[in-house]
């Protein structure tokens, strides 16, 4: 079973089985890694904000880099009106980033390689953005589906297309993150398996590929967290600054 490349994605129970009202709420390896990444985020940010030095140490520096990065991303894509949503986007980015990065450690579990986790986050964003849009603009938010300057004849068609486009946001958001993480980790496992099966003579080439892929996967892990956060900003921008 250890050579099966999909074995790494199995969720299994840790500790006793907890069953409340027919729902399995047991503590699993997925819950463990979610907790670990949350703890890691808290740890880094706590160490970074403990003493505010003029010349920052490593943890303070990395916390400041994260803060500036997200603040600039929000100001660039969604403008000043999105400032109150900074804590949400910051936690979202940090959680996805740390889950992806913890998944890069050998023998660890990648939480974001399960579509239910990414779909939950994407649906939360989708519903939140829709609620914010209706709260800010009332029924005027529906203008999002009716672009300006469209001939009346084409209007029903364009509206249907815009609605499909709006509904596909959570799907593309969740599938992108899940598929990238799962494909990358499966590929790493497959090349790892080649190293073993080809032995000392032929195993060097896949070993080199594995090393290169690990670098690529670290890039993808960061990039997917970035794309997830920036798309949240773009959707938030649509809801806050309605102009079509």
């Amino acid at each position: 079973m250890a050579t099966n490349p999909m074995h790494q994605f199995q969720v299994h129970r840790i500790g006793p089985e907890i069953n409340i009202a027919g729902i399995d709420l047991s503590f699993t390896n997925a819950s463990l890694f979610m907790l670990l990444s949350a703890a890691a985020i808290c740890g880094v940010l706590f160490l970074g904000t403990k003493q505010k030095k003029i010349i920052p140490d490593k943890f303070q520096l990395i916390s400041e880099i994260f803060y500036n990065f997200i603040a600039k991303m929000i100001s660039d894509t969604a403008g000043s009106k999105a400032k109150p949503y900074f804590p949400f986007i910051f936690s979202l980015f940090m959680f996805v980033l740390f889950c992806n990065m913890l998944g890069m450690l050998p023998y660890s579990f990648t939480v974001t390689s399960h579509i239910i986790v990414t779909l939950l986050m994407a649906m939360f964003i989708f519903i939140a953005v829709t609620v914010i849009g209706f709260a800010k603009h009332g029924f005027g938010y529906l203008k999002l589906f009716v672009p300006n300057g469209v001939p009346v004849v084409l209007m029903p068609l364009i509206t249907v297309i815009e609605i499909i486009s709006y509904l596909s946001r959570p799907v593309s958001l969740s599938v992108r993150l899940f598929a990238n993480m799962m494909a990358g980790h499966t590929m790493l496992k497959v090349f790892g398996g080649f190293v073993i099966s080809l032995g000392v003579l032929g195993g060097w080439l896949p070993l080199g590929f594995s090393v290169a892929l690990t670098g690529l996967e670290i890039l993808v892990a960061f990039l997917q967290a970035y794309v997830f956060a920036i798309l949240t900003c773009i959707y938030l921008n649509d809801a806050l600054n309605l102009h079509h």
Binding site: M73, V171, V227, I230
Partner: protein, 95 residues
């Protein structure tokens, strides 16, 4: 005190910079090119998939199998392609 004043002016300049960057913010996505590549590829698939799923649900509601699934499959494809064109235009405007 000179040191403190110096720090104060620097803080002021930094704050103004941040403020102006918030004010000048345009509404275009500033994704890196690789990020947009990921976005484009999954968007195209997701639009078609969502269109087809909507068609499937409507078909079982109105009992019109298989017409709505066919129509909505094409509507989803159109929507996906239009979305890619829109994103590409935004990327071109930025350059």
């Amino acid at each position: 005190m000179a040191n403190l004043n110096d720090f104060k002016t620097r803080l002021k300049i930094a704050k103004e910079k941040l403020k102006s960057s918030y004010e000048n913010a345009d509404n275009k996505g500033n994704t890196s090119s690789m990020g947009s590549a990921f976005k484009l590829s999954t968007d195209l698939v997701a639009h078609v998939a969502v269109g087809t799923i909507i068609g499937f649900i409507f078909d079982s509601w109105f009992d019109t199998k298989p017409w709505l699934i066919i129509i909505f499959f094409f509507l989803g494809s159109i929507s996906g392609i239009l979305n890619v064109i829109k994103t590409a235009k935004q990327m071109q405007e930025k350059d």
